[in-house]
């Protein structure tokens, strides 16, 4: 493992598999235990440095660090020195001076975790940077797929929605490719980046054509406000062409699963009966997020499992 987890490309196949296997070991170790806590990172300090509101990601990392017995500091940009104009660098040096061993960073600017990694000695974990990457989301998605389908090699994954602005899509394309899955991106052309042709993924504008050939359908959050910048004409038209409703879900194979990184726009990209169906892994993804983030922190800070 590298010292930081900044993007999915930091993980080769062996590293990525190690994270997933470690998460599975952690799940086993904690299963049925009354006290869901491991002593591994006792005395270490993990800082959650969040420049964007993201309660679910922050509490997932917080829980992961606490279950490993680390001390956790939550540093939110709001109401702190950051809102008084302190630079990212000064904040990083301040946290390091206080003895942080790892910084988990969420930032609206793509590449902010890369900058941070230049300025601190400890580990940096990217918890989502702008429209770039969200590698632990991809890891928990891969973990969930493997748990449900028993494999990743050759699994056909459709990633549907606002690929252009999605850090989840970028991390998933890279990581799933590393792990041997076959990714197809499905979106209106306006929501695909120029240059998407160089990604290790197929591209389609036609959701109905892709669904029967998919083992996994990963729906991305689409912000209705995008229609104001003419990425699509209306929420209704988007939903008609790219939303996953019960009719479309029926086109899926028997074992196919439906994923969503959350938070969902029910009725926009995903219908309620799909989100709540047996195919949906959305709640499992949340639980698996904690295990995978424990594995990441453990491997970055605690070394390989003995």
């Amino acid at each position: 493992m590298k010292r930081h987890l900044l993007e999915a490309a930091d993980l080769d196949r062996a590293d990525a598999t190690l994270v997933l296997d470690t998460a599975a070991q952690i799940d086993q170790a904690l299963a049925g235990r009354e006290v869901k806590k491991l002593p591994t990172l006792r005395g270490r300090t993990v800082v959650n440095l969040f420049y964007e509101d993201s309660t679910r990601t922050r509490i997932s990392f917080e829980l992961a660090a606490k279950r490993l017995s680390a001390d956790v500091l939550n540093f939110s940009a709001k109401g702190s020195s950051v809102s008084k104009g302190e630079s990212l660098k000064d904040t990083a040096l301040t946290l390091e001076a206080m003895g942080s061993d790892a910084i988990v960073v969420r930032h609206p600017a793509s590449g902010a975790p890369h900058r941070l990694a230049n300025w601190v000695r400890g580990s940096v974990v990217n918890a989502g940077d702008g429209t770039h990457e969200h590698p632990t989301q991809a890891l928990l998605d891969a973990y969930t797929i493997r748990q449900r389908l028993g494999r990743l090699e050759g699994v056909r994954v459709a990633v549907v929605g606002d690929v252009l602005h999605s850090r989840v899509a970028r991390s998933n394309v890279r990581l799933l490719h590393t792990l041997g899955a076959e990714v197809t991106l499905v979106a209106p052309p306006t929501l695909l980046p120029v240059g998407v042709g160089s990604w290790p993924a197929e591209v389609s504008y036609d959701l109905d054509a892709v669904l029967p050939k998919s083992d996994v359908v990963m729906m991305l959050r689409v912000q209705a406000e995008r229609m104001n910048a003419s990425f699509f004409p209306s929420a209704r038209e988007y939903s008609r062409r790219y939303g996953l409703d019960a009719r479309r879900m029926a086109a899926l194979g028997d074992d196919a699963i439906v994923m969503h990184p959350g938070p969902m726009n029910r009725g926009m990209e995903i219908a309620a009966e799909v989100a709540d169906s047996a195919r949906s892994t959305i709640v499992e993804q949340v639980g698996n997020g904690v295990s995978v983030r424990m594995a990441v922190l453990y491997l970055l800070l605690g070394g390989a499992p003995s």
Binding site: K89, R170, G195
Partner: protein
Amino acid sequence: MSVLIKGARPYGEDVADILLQDGRIAAIGDSLSVPGADVVDAAGLVALPGLVDLHTHLREPGREDAETVETGSRAAALGGYTAVHAMANTDPVADTAGVVEQVWRLGQEAGLVDVVPVGAVTVGLAGERLAELGAMADSAARVRVFSDDGHCVADPALMRRALEYVKALDGVVAQHAEEPRLTVGAQMHEGDRSARLGLTGWPAAAEEAIIARDVLLAGHVGARLHVCHVSTAGSVEILRWAKSRGVQVTAEVTPHHLLLTDECAEGYDPLFKVNPPLRTDADVEALRAGLAEGVIDAVATDHAPHAVEDKETEWASARPGMLGLEQALSVVVATMVDTGLLDWRGVADRMSARPAAIGRLDGHGRALAPGEPANLLLLDPGTRAVVDPAALASRSRNSPYAGRELPGRVVATFLRGVPTVLDGKATR
């Protein structure tokens, strides 16, 4: 005052001595000898006309923490320049006779290069109404180049009027070609890398669309147009087409667009954030070919000093721009001379004669010949050195060439016969 330069090679050609007297080149010939003259040993050095920059940001007034007219002038002299055009996007904006005269006077006081102010096209660079272009032209600063650089004159009707109006001033509008609606939030060249890095793309078409529009407008009203920092292969094609139709259009390319590509954005170091952005290998190749061919008339630095805190940030928060004055000639040697695309006369044409003609600077850009103003530089083309930002004369440190080995060292620069640089060091 007399200076006798011994054993230089004018334009890299035959060895000759050059005598500078009373601000002019008095003689060029073999074994000149003048009692009492200061002798400069120039054995092995190439003599070129003093360079002229059409595009420099000196930051004064307003951001004297990043650069001043004096520090920028020193950087220019060390780069072999004898004249620089100071862009108008200062604070306050150079959109009145008062501000351009202030900048001009500061340049005269520094005395290292002729600082030629550029006037803003529109009041406050806001793109809404014309600044008093005539007042700036008639001022002591004698403004001939007008630009809202940093902003595009995006309104086509306003651009047309500006092009027409400056005809009466023998002026030229230097356009920052960037369609603003196509570059909202843009961070880097739009292509494979921007897609992967998750940085909002700056499409080549946003530059090309404005250049295409403006050459049509310039042709229609019979005015002069200059295009700043051309960065794409498509722009070169449009310029070639326009010139073939007789449009009075000139264009410049920066050293960094001749050398660097969007690969530099990997790692998110905002040192490499610049507007227009670094493009692809194919663009670099087309720009070099366009400059060699003369479709691109000039190399202009777009020297853009920024304080450390404006660059030591996340990519999206960083200010765009990079230093250029002190390394421009070295980059041209690396990309154009060492590659065989330009000889030394070609370098003199693109970095001195043509930019001086575009800016209507009578005393610059002249040939190395007896009777001409003694504005020249001596270059050691054989020396290679690693660029050390800490050693730069600029007040800022945002050189994209940091740590890079580049050929060529400016040994001496003369402004009207007076050395501004000797032994590679500024004389004041």
